[in-house]
Amino acid sequence: MPETVEVDITIPNQTRYLGLIGRIGEDLVHSLGRYTGDREVLAYHLNLVLTEAITNAICHANENDPNKRIQIKISATEETLSIKVFDEGEGFDLAKRQLGDMCETDECGRGIHIIRRLMDQVNYRRSDKRNVLEMVKKLY
């Protein structure tokens, strides 16, 4: 049986919880059994992609509606980190978000690019009545 840690968190649709989820991501990285890379860097990256994905879910999908909720699932094995962030919005076309669209001094539009740069697989799809952004990072 693979040694898996699974964390499933539901938070109110508020940016004040971003720090909590980021820290939980960092804690998780520090508890990984074997990892030969730089743990501090991996911890920052996990914190970052969680923060970016949840911010989008809160602000774009759930449009800051305080009655909506965000669910986050993280699954960690010695081989892979897998993250799912669920939103209750209209959805968007991930494929259309291309780096070419942006200019260096734009104030926004960096979130998805950052996620793509740091994760090995990223996709966004409908799941029941919600949407889910799925991100996978290989650890070996």
Partner: protein, 111 residues
Amino acid sequence: MQLKTEEIEDIVLIEIQEERMDAHNSGTFKEQMLALFDEGKCKLIIDLSAVRFVDSSGLGALVSGFKNASAREGSLKLCGLQPQVRSMFELTRLHRVFEIFVSVDEAQESF
């Protein structure tokens, strides 16, 4: 956002007193900079040495300040970046936009 500001002649030194810059506090930070621009201040040094984590919203707030300062013929310079924060600027290529210094003193001398 918790800031400590100090005026050195026409330069405003802003020390960010938060561990984390993210979508939760960078909106306020943008407004705090706008208030300075409204007072006619347009030479800013942002000391990031207390900041351990910055996301794209935090970077966006800094870009906003940078553009506002430049539009007023001033400038916004950064200093005190921790290594992981520094690498965020490289990841997003923003190290080619900002003037980044090691210390407050070096940033100040460059004006």
